[in-house]
């Protein structure tokens, strides 16, 4: 344990990382570890509630009663979607900022204060949720006013968001200091982290406003709260925080495919343009959560939900090409694999950092990305929203996509910053396959349950029984049963991750000098070392990427058409 905190730094606290080639300062590394470990704690807590929630929705088992179910679902949502992700994201900012720029962590005290506030906010929220009792209601993720939700909960939200803001300041300071000292552009990873941080600020402002509004209402400073206004404000943070997840994840994709796969930047111009599009357009998308709502005008819903003419969706489609292309070109250049897909099939598939990253990229695109655009259309939204299909969509984005990427990053940090070997190496190699497979199937089943059977989200029973009614949605019973099995498998894969991570950090064997050579594609010293040859991109043929992205577009079109077909089978709705 103690040895985990004392890497071999020189007397000024620096060491050279033999995997990334970066000069790493102790101050940065320690905070990355602190935020990372806390994130894993939140993952474990949220994962426990994934188990109880899934075993309740598997109604034959029906683990929890109604009241407990909402409480557990709230714990699941807040610990996974918010605490697991945001603690990781601060760690990512510190890696992408000061670490990549080769600086100390500036404003160290603020990093500590930010951490303390975030941790306090997380504890308050967990406490508020867990102690909910009638007539107060559990918040779930959205805490929609005017439900009677405890003021403590909203207060905790404010504390947490303030903490996240403070914790982000050292990142901004590092970028500022970099510009003071040098002129040139930021490295792409820092640029992506910077875009992430800007998006985060936009989102957090909205979050502070909405939780303050609700808090003031709950403590009777203001007499009433407008449900429509709450929804609009809430989704600035509700949506915005998901875009933080997205931008952070994409940044980590560039980082990890480079370090463990040998990827290079295929086109600085294209990738940076995509990040800029994110900054401008992505938070506009908040109204896609209001598509089947009254109040907001159709024009505004269409304009806004299409991310201002799909500016942001297009940006994601850009990364969808740029990242695999970077990997393909980088590996072809190193002579790692020929043919159409040899560069991919020859990859270090036993390394969980690599496999988890690749699965995340593929599954995020095919499961989360496509469905996000489809359910984000004004009309098709009516068949997705508030059904299990929505839950399927966002488990495709955050539970398969982002969570797998962040798992990859945790494995990476264990080996490269904690300098520990992964415990149970075979199990660790297998874990991304198991999790991606089980969670991928569970996600697709949720989508089917929503679209084909209209099974609602956020209820403890509906398929076998609707309390007080002799009708129920029994036709979906087989599907829900299969879902239950895959959900349990996915949770098991999550348990394996947690065990490997915790045992490695606290009981793992130290990595000897040179013991990380297997992590980098050349087996040599630092991927960065021999690459600055400025080869033009067209020297390397990216036909494999081209084929994959064409399959992606074709799938997109097919899913889109199918969804519109289902929609137009409905009776007439609207003018």
């Amino acid at each position: 344990m103690i040895s985990a905190l004392v890497n071999d730094y020189d007397e000024d606290g620096w060491r050279k990382c033999n995997v990334t080639g970066l000069d790493v300062h102790r101050s940065v590394e320690n905070y990355v570890k602190l935020f990372g470990v806390t994130a894993v704690v939140a993952l474990v807590v949220g994962g426990v509630f994934a188990f109880t929630v899934a075993l309740t929705r598997w109604e034959i088992i029906g683990l929890l009663g109604e009241e407990a179910f909402y409480r557990h679902l709230s714990m699941h949502a807040w610990n996974l979607l918010i605490f697991w992700m945001v603690f990781m994201e601060i760690a990512i900012l510190y890696v992408g900022g000061p670490m990549v720029l080769g600086r100390k962590l500036p404003l160290k005290k603020l990093a500590g204060a930010g951490f303390a506030l975030m941790a306090a906010g997380a504890v308050i929220i967990n406490y508020a949720i867990w102690t909910t009792s009638q007539p107060q209601e559990a918040p779930l993720l959205t805490a929609y006013a005017p439900l009677e939700i405890s003021a403590t909960f909203y207060g905790g939200g404010i504390v947490f968001l303030l903490g996240a803001t403070v914790a982000a300041l050292p990142f901004f300071a590092a970028v500022y200091l970099h510009y003071k000292d040098t002129t040139g552009s930021l490295p792409l990873v820092t640029f992506g982290a910077f875009a992430t941080a800007i998006i985060a600020v936009q989102a957090i402002v909205g979050g502070l406003v909405v939780f303050s509004y609700a808090f003031l209402w709950r403590i009777d400073v203001i007499g009433s709260i407008d449900a429509a206004l709450y929804r609009q404000l809430f989704w600035i943070i509700g949506h915005g925080s998901q875009q933080i997840n997205l931008a952070a994840m994409v940044t980590v994709w560039y980082f990890l495919t480079h370090v463990v796969g040998g990827a290079e930047v295929f086109s600085e111009k294209v990738s940076r343009t995509a990040f800029v599009l994110y900054v401008f357009f992505i938070n506009l998308g908040a109204a896609h959560h209001l598509l089947s709502d009254p109040v907001v005008s159709a024009e505004w819903r269409i304009f806004n939900a299409s991310y201002a003419f799909y500016g942001a969706a297009f940006a994601s489609m850009i990364h969808a090409f740029a990242i695999p292309a970077g990997l393909e070109a980088g590996r072809r250049k190193r002579g790692l694999g020929g043919g159409l897909f040899g560069w991919l099939t020859n990859g270090p598939w036993k390394n969980p950092v690599f496999s988890a990253t690749i699965f995340s990229i593929i599954l995020f695109g095919f499961l989360g990305g496509i469905t996000g655009v489809v359910m984000g259309q004004l009309q098709t939204n009516m068949s997705w929203v508030r059904t299990l299909a929505t839950v399927g969509h966002f488990h495709g984005t955050v539970a398969v996509g982002t969570t797998l990427t962040f798992m990859a990053l945790v494995y990476f940090v264990i080996r490269v910053m904690f300098l520990k070997q992964l415990a149970f190496p075979r199990l660790a190699s297998f874990q991304p396959y198991f999790y991606a497979g089980a969670m991928g199937v569970a996600t697709i089943l949720l989508m089917y349950a929503g679209i084909l059977f209209g099974i609602p989200r956020r209820v403890d029973e509906v398929v076998w029984n609707i309390p007080g009614s002799d009708w129920s949605m029994l036709a979906a019973a087989p599907l829900i049963t299969i879902f239950g099995v895959f959900a349990v498998l996915a949770i098991l894969a999550g348990v394996i991750f947690a065990v490997v991570a915790v045992v490695s950090v606290f009981l793992g064997k130290d990595i000897e000098e040179g013991g990380n050579a297997d992590l980098v594609p050349d087996g040599g010293y630092g991927v960065g070392a021999d690459m600055e040859d400025g080869d033009p991109v067209h020297k390397y043929d990216v036909r494999g990427t081209f084929a994959i992205t064409l399959i992606f577009l074709a799938t997109f079109v097919a899913v889109y058409v199918l969804n519109w077909y289902v929609l137009t089978q409905l009776w007439q709705i609207g003018p």
Binding site: P294, H538, T549, I573
Partner: protein, 181 residues
């Protein structure tokens, strides 16, 4: 090409974009415009759009309107409302769909006045015979949403609530009987 961990060197902006990447980006761009255009056009030519007028209304007012509508409505032997005219009022309230059960006819355009008397509720409706035909709208307190519907098949349509509205939410169920018109 370069490392994402190092500042790009030289004039990276003017490095030409790969041909395959350009083709893909063109396709993705066209696709983005197409789906935006389709969504927009469908609001004019399509039969399924979540579009209707919204009015501010207090829960008390909406309750009154609902009572008035009930008084004018007829009733079947089983106590199912038969609206008098094209207006149909449905109020979501913890934990019931007030104004249901109601009997409607196929081929007739109704104006559904949807609101909530307390918290947010999800108006989720499907015919018994085909669960895939389902649609989800929102009932908001303080707002009345008037949305048109014309049913094409006679069946019992089930309304459930799919926005969390408090403990009791999962029991919130109502029916709309659609008969041949």
């Amino acid at each position: 090409m370069s490392s994402p961990l190092k500042p790009p060197e030289g004039n990276w902006w003017d490095v030409p974009v790969d041909r395959r990447e350009s083709i893909y980006l063109g396709l993705a761009g066209i696709w983005s415009l197409l789906i935006f255009g389709w969504m927009s056009i469908f609001t004019r030519i399509g039969d399924q759009n979540p579009i209707g007028d919204t009015y501010r209304v207090s829960p008390e007012e909406f309750s009154e309107n609902l009572s008035e509508y009930r008084e004018n409505a007829g009733e079947t032997e089983d106590g199912v409302l038969i609206p008098d005219g094209e207006d149909v009022y449905i109020a979501a309230a913890q934990f019931a769909w007030q104004g249901t059960p109601v009997q409607l006819e196929t081929g007739k355009t109704y104006k559904i006045h949807l609101s909530s008397l307390d918290v947010q509720h999800g108006f989720s409706i499907r015919p018994e015979g085909n669960l895939t035909r389902q649609v989800n709208l929102l009932a908001l307190p303080g707002y009345e949403w008037v949305i048109e519907m014309e049913f094409d098949e006679a069946d019992t349509y089930h309304v459930i609530c799919n926005e969390f509205c408090g403990v009791g939410h999962s029991s919130m169920h109502g029916t709309i009987e659609v008969v041949e018109g």
